[in-house]
Amino acid sequence: MNLIYNEEQRMLLDTAQEFFAERSPVSALRALRDRKDELGFEPELWQEMTELGWTAIPFPENLGGLAFGYKGMGTVFESAGRHLSASPLLSSVVLCGSILEQGGSAAQQKSWLAELIAGSKRLALAVDEGVRHNPQQIELSAVRTDTGFQLDGQKVIVVDGFQADGWIVAARTGQAADAISLFIVPAGTAGVEQSRQNLIDSRNTARLTFTHVQVAPEQLIGELDQGALILESALDRGRACIAAELQGACEELFKTTLEYLRTRVQFDVPIGSFQALQHRAAWMHVDIELARSCLMAALDAIDSGDAQTAQLVSLAKWKVGQMADKVSSEAVQMHGGIGVTDELDVGLYFKRIRVLQALLGDADYHLNRAAPLLEEA
């Protein structure tokens, strides 16, 4: 198990850090928010990221990718996390791209995957239906018709789903618990309604309603009833990238907090000299280091095809999520009055962190899912 970035990955990390710092600092997110941008990201930025080749990172070369793996992807996500940089990299490339890579037909890969990598089209994954993430409980139905399938049901919290060029929809196609199939539904298909769910992180999230939506057989990805495994694998890639984004956001927020502790003076001394705050900061550091190890293990497991990838990804999402809860809460508290104002960026970090913590499974969900790790020992 390799838990550090190699030299190439470190170079990519540096590039990504610089890029986001310059092209998409926190002020960019603030601007998107203040003008209530419905897309939730800057198309030009997305185009630049595409040109840098980042949308090609995880895919094999025969599909137009760079075969640079999820450690490579991790470097980009943690850098984006540091600057709260918004882009559809998670939704379109990681989640939908993985599904197309693993389950798409040659035709689907040629049309859709190539366009995703080129950035000329964007897909979003529609999976959740309930209050909390639970891909085992999909009720949106796809029923066979003479000409294909008919979709009925509802999806929520579809990341970057508003005004996407299409969606990959996870639908129930049989009675068996895992009889799930995946369909590509292009935007504009009759019967699909989209509404924007405005979350605290000011990013793009949508609710989709499917009413008698007709899809052709060639819109099915992979085999009928066999979508669950592909879906789960894509979700795991997404979860690992979310963990990376969280880790980056938390490390940056922690850095800001430490700087504040060193410089803010109260009672004639820097507040960072108060031992109670020092110890709490030290515990934050401990959690950040432990979480980092779990994150690296998850990324490495994906790249090496580890048999325990699912559990290691859940370990990472759990541990990073727990750490993020603590770091974001403490950051606000330690900043005191100014920390709860909108003027400081602390609140923007807090809000994004809390959304990421809930996306694709919260701590409770992943604690359970990671548990089988403990049986091997």
């Binding site: 769910q197 809460s329 909108d342 969900y365």
Partner: protein
């Protein structure tokens, strides 16, 4: 029947006849009436209750009649409060002036100041705000820099205040200002001043919080003239008065909390809505673990409520309650924060909404209240300050000596 029993019977009858039914029971935050020059009523009942209580001089029932108070004895006042509570009457108006500045004026004000400032309070004509905190004087209040410079018959005030609740809607402010920069101890150069928020050079800007719009303001003073008869207590003697004022803050906040329960969301009830139990199916392990956390949190709240009760009983039995009193704000604010964290976990994305039609009113209110709960452990003495106070005043742990720990 003794005199006090007669008073009780009369009071009860009067309240029953005069307090409109719609003004009994807790109110949502927006439904409270704030006294002042811009007083607004949401409905006729509010106006009636306001005017009837005002005309009975019961805005300040225990203050001397000379300043428009009700002139009640302490015993009568206690009976009135009991009867108000029994009927769950809402306060006819909310006013920081009455709860915080008033008692200090009664104790330290000149006769002229009492006449001039207390009388409009007891009529509900002036809305007051507090100007204590500054950007560099948060937990370390003595660090204030807003200056009031002696200019003969008046002071000239420059600087700014932060965290002033409803600074933009208030008529007058009581403020701490620096009147001496040369004192060795920074506490010694501070005075308490009252000033007109409508005066030239005063500007109040609402502050946006992580939870969105807020009632807090930043208030800027640009060469504001304040006549000298607005100095309360001695020049450079404001620190003592400020401490006295802050003692009243706690009881004011608790009174306020009693009637305005904008953020009271019952944890277990909401949990039940978002973590439904399926008939015949066992709960998932993660739901059970979450429920256990929620139970622990709700039982802690129960323990807190019992402690409020116990504090009252000990006080009535004339036992020392300083050790209990010192924990109340800390416990309540930290518990609230924890409660919302659990609610957010249970509600998933439904608690992460910001605005729009996609979320119910209650869901959006919970999101805001959750974010606001982060303010509660900072404002009014941060948790850290509370812990310091407990450690030093209650537990008698030693100060860090000069040249101390490395």
């Amino acid at each position: 029947m003794s005199a006090i029993e007669t008073f009780r019977a009369e009071t009860r009858a009067w309240l029953e006849a005069n307090c409109p039914e719609s003004l009994r029971g807790a109110a949502a935050s927006g439904e409270l009436v704030w006294g002042g020059s811009q007083v607004e009523f949401a409905n006729e009942d509010q106006r009636l209750w306001f005017e009837r209580m005002r005309d009975r001089n019961w805005f300040c029932p225990a203050w001397p009649a000379a300043y428009g108070g009700g002139g009640l004895s302490a015993e009568e006042d206690a009976v009135l409060q009991q009867e108000l509570k029994r009927l769950k009457c809402r306060p006819p108006q909310i006013n920081l002036g009455i709860w915080m500045l008033g008692p200090v004026l009664l104790e330290f004000g000149t006769e002229e100041q009492k006449q001039r400032l207390l009388t409009p309070m007891t009529r509900g004509e002036v809305r007051w705000c507090q100007g204590f905190s500054e950007p560099n004087a948060g937990s370390d209040l003595a660090n204030i820099r807003t200056s009031a410079v002696d200019a003969g018959d008046h002071f000239v005030v420059n600087g700014s205040k932060i965290w002033t609740s409803y600074g933009d809607k208030s008529d007058w402010m009581y403020a701490l200002v620096r009147t001496d920069n040369s004192s060795a101890k920074k506490q010694d150069g501070i005075s308490l001043l009252v000033l007109d928020m409508h005066a030239e050079g005063v500007e109040a800007r609402p502050i946006d919080l992580i939870s969105g719009k807020s009632s807090f303001c930043e208030v800027f003073f640009d060469n504001v003239k304040v006549s000298k008869d607005n100095l309360i207590g001695p020049l450079n003697g404001g620190w003592t008065l400020a401490k006295r004022l802050l003692q009243h803050e706690r009881s004011a906040m608790s009174k306020f909390g009693e009637f305005s329960l904008p953020t009271h969301f019952d944890l277990m009830t909401i949990l039940g809505d978002y973590l439904p139990r399926s008939e015949g199916e066992p709960d998932s392990p993660s739901d059970i673990a979450l429920r256990a956390r929620a139970q622990a949190c709700a039982l802690d709240e129960h323990a807190y409520n019992l402690t409020v009760q116990r504090m009252g009983q000990q006080a009535r039995a004339r036992q020392d309650v300083s050790g209990i009193a010192a924990i109340m704000k800390l416990v309540h604010s930290e518990q609230e924060k924890q409660k919302f964290e659990i609610l957010v976990d249970a509600m998933g994305h439904r608690a992460l909404g910001w605005d729009g039609d996609e979320f119910s009113e209650q869901e959006l209110a919970i999101s805001k209240a959750w974010l606001m709960s982060y303010t509660q452990t900072i404002a009014g003495g941060s948790s850290e300050v509370q812990l310091n106070v407990i450690a030093k005043r209650v537990l008698d742990l030693p100060d860090t000596p000069k040249g101390g720990a490395k």
